[in-house]
């Protein structure tokens, strides 16, 4: 069990940015888009067989030639302002059929990722995922940011279109980040690294569909690029968002009219930084969210 390096990158105080698949693939699309745009070069991988079940067997002429496992690769790039190391995992290590990383294997993987980060002098880690929120799909997703240290709060407050847990109504600064996005934050804290998880919002009614939600990835990317001082061409992800919007609109049109009507009320729901009242009352908002919840529970039973 370990890391295999193909080369030793010459990097100085690099920032680690990690991404895995999750709800709407928000984190991994953001991180992988950034990796592609800055042309980061692959330089190593975590040996996957100790963590994952294989994904593909190749048999040629009756002989087993290869067994492919989900990839877990490291990339690096030197940009004008910062050196970056990327970690992209194709799957999260799970135990006992759970969806997100949990348990010994997940902890081991988080430590392996950070072993490499520390080996190259990294002091700052970003992870990225999804924040399920009562928003409408036509809204610009905000980014929820969770640091692993109080010292990072002021920095996060300076990020554009970003909220802290304490900005979110009813949460009182509390919450949970499932899977490796959260675990890496905790393990980084334990090992003395600064870490921030940036999560793009996905509408509550889309979280159960097997759809990517690049609109939220774009919000995450906007935050990451500013924070890292990198300029990238957003046209690629904007095109992806456009295609996804059409797909979501088509899906939305298939919802029963009464549900669409309820969901459309989310356009007026403000739940974060609620300094002023929206055009609907708190009572309305509560009922809308309960109705939506009931509808999707019913749908999943019918599937």
């Amino acid at each position: 069990m370990g890391i295999r390096l193909y080369k030793k990158p010459e990097v100085e105080n690099p920032v680690l940015i990690a991404g895995w698949p999750g709800i709407g693939n928000i984190g991994i699309i953001a991180v992988d888009t950034l990796r592609g745009m800055v042309r980061a070069e692959e330089f190593g991988e975590i040996e996957s067989w100790d963590f994952f079940y294989p994904k593909k067997v190749s048999i040629r002429n009756g002989e087993l030639k290869d067994l492919e496992f989900p990839s877990n690769k490291f990339y690096f790039v030197k940009t004008e302002k910062k050196d970056l190391i990327f970690f992209i995992g194709e799957e999260q290590p799970t135990e006992g059929g759970k969806v997100y990383a949990e348990g010994t294997k997940a902890y081991q993987m988080a430590n392996l990722v950070l072993d490499l980060a520390l080996k190259f002098g990294c002091r700052r880690v970003y992870t990225s995922g999804a924040a399920v929120a009562p928003i409408h799909h036509t809204a610009r997703p905000k980014v929820w940011a969770v640091p692993n240290s109080q010292d990072l709060i002021d920095e996060i407050k300076s990020y554009e279109n970003t909220v802290l847990m304490s900005d979110i109504e009813g949460r009182g600064g509390q919450g949970a980040i499932t899977g490796l996005n959260g675990l890496l934050l905790g393990v980084a804290k334990k090992r003395g690294l600064e870490a921030i998880c940036v999560m793009g919002e996905i509408p509550v009614y889309l979280q159960g569909f097997p759809l990517a939600y690049p609109k939220a990835s774009k919000s995450v990317l906007e935050v990451l690029t500013v924070t890292l001082g990198i300029k990238i061409d957003m046209q690629g992800i904007a095109a992806l968002v456009e295609r996804s919007e059409s797909e979501i609109e088509r899906l939305f049109e298939r919802f029963p009219p009464e549900i669409r009507e309820e969901l459309n009320k989310l356009i007026y729901v403000t739940y974060a930084e609620s300094t002023e009242s929206g055009p609907i009352t708190d009572e309305d908002k509560k009922r809308i969210l309960e109705d939506i919840d009931k509808f999707f529970k019913k749908e999943s039973k019918e599937d």
Partner: protein, 277 residues
């Protein structure tokens, strides 16, 4: 993670250059468990080791199948006279690589195993009356050469289709390959309507190969009787239910059946065979 070995050895078998046959407990047509039980019975297999389940299975209670509580077991048996080791095991639910490594550790360290064979049933759309051929996948050119002495299909290409995952047998074969242990996975087609019940014909084809490969000297009369009994039962279903006979006839003439016919065939055959067992 604890470095403690995840297996228990009760006695050290006296074997040299032996072979290991692995059958999985959850298998199409009950092929794995039935063939392993049969080998143990015929060859006087003696249990000598097991893999502890705690690291590999979710142990929050037990599942119940056929009215009986099940527990994930992974037990090794040895047959001294035939220089053979057999393993019957449930498929682990996590930490697969470590589990398979433990299988090969027991085989290599305690039994000096040089060759590995996994057995398994694969779902077939053909009728039970169609001729069936054993398929084999080798993990090295040398093993392929060994298999060429037998009448089995061994020259095909395959890649896991999107959305599916390789079998645990393929994973084990790969782990063996990484350790330079010769291995082959053996596959017998099991008609889709016998997948959840029993398929003695598939058991016989598998045992026949193992008998030839290891010179086991097996008397097949009991298996032949079992095959005949099963065929007779299915013949009775065909007489009693002309619709079922029609579906099987379609399969026999390579016409195929619709999804609805497929489901009905599975349901009727399974119900009938269970009632008569």
């Amino acid at each position: 993670m604890s470095e403690k070995q995840p297996f228990r050895i009760y006695e050290k078998p006296e074997l040299q250059s032996s072979s290991l046959v692995v059958g999985w407990s959850e298998d199409a047509g009950k092929l794995g468990p039935k063939v392993i039980d049969y080998l143990n019975k015929k060859l006087g297999g003696k249990e000598f080791a097991e893999i502890e389940p705690a690291d590999f299975f979710s142990l929050g209670g037990v599942s119940v199948e056929g009215d009986v509580a099940q527990f994930p077991e992974s037990k090794f048996y040895w047959c001294q006279q035939k220089n053979l080791v057999v393993l019957q095991s449930y498929s682990p639910r996590s930490d697969w690589h470590r589990f398979l490594g433990a299988v090969l550790d027991v085989a290599e360290l305690y039994c000096h195993v040089k060759e590995l064979y996994t057995i398994g049933g694969m779902v077939s759309l053909s009728a039970h009356t169609a001729p069936r051929e054993l398929l084999a996948v080798a993990n090295s050119p040398a093993m392929k050469e060994v298999l060429s002495q037998y009448d089995i299909a061994r020259d095909f290409d395959y890649e896991t289709p999107p959305g599916q995952r390789p079998t645990l047998s393929s994973f084990l074969l790969w782990v063996a390959k990484m350790r330079n242990m010769a291995g082959a996975s053996l596959w017998v087609p099991v008609p889709f309507y016998l997948v959840s019940t029993e398929d003695p014909q598939a058991w016989r084809i598998t045992v026949e190969f193992l008998d030839q490969r290891f010179g086991l000297g097996i008397d097949f009369r009991d298996l032949d009787e079992e095959v005949a009994r099963q065929n007779e039962k299915i013949a009775q279903v065909r007489i009693r239910f002309p619709e079922i006979d029609d579906y099987i006839r379609k399969l026999e003439t390579n016409l195929g059946v619709t999804q609805e016919e497929n489901e009905k065939l599975v349901k009727e055959i399974e119900e009938f065979l269970r009632k008569r067992d």
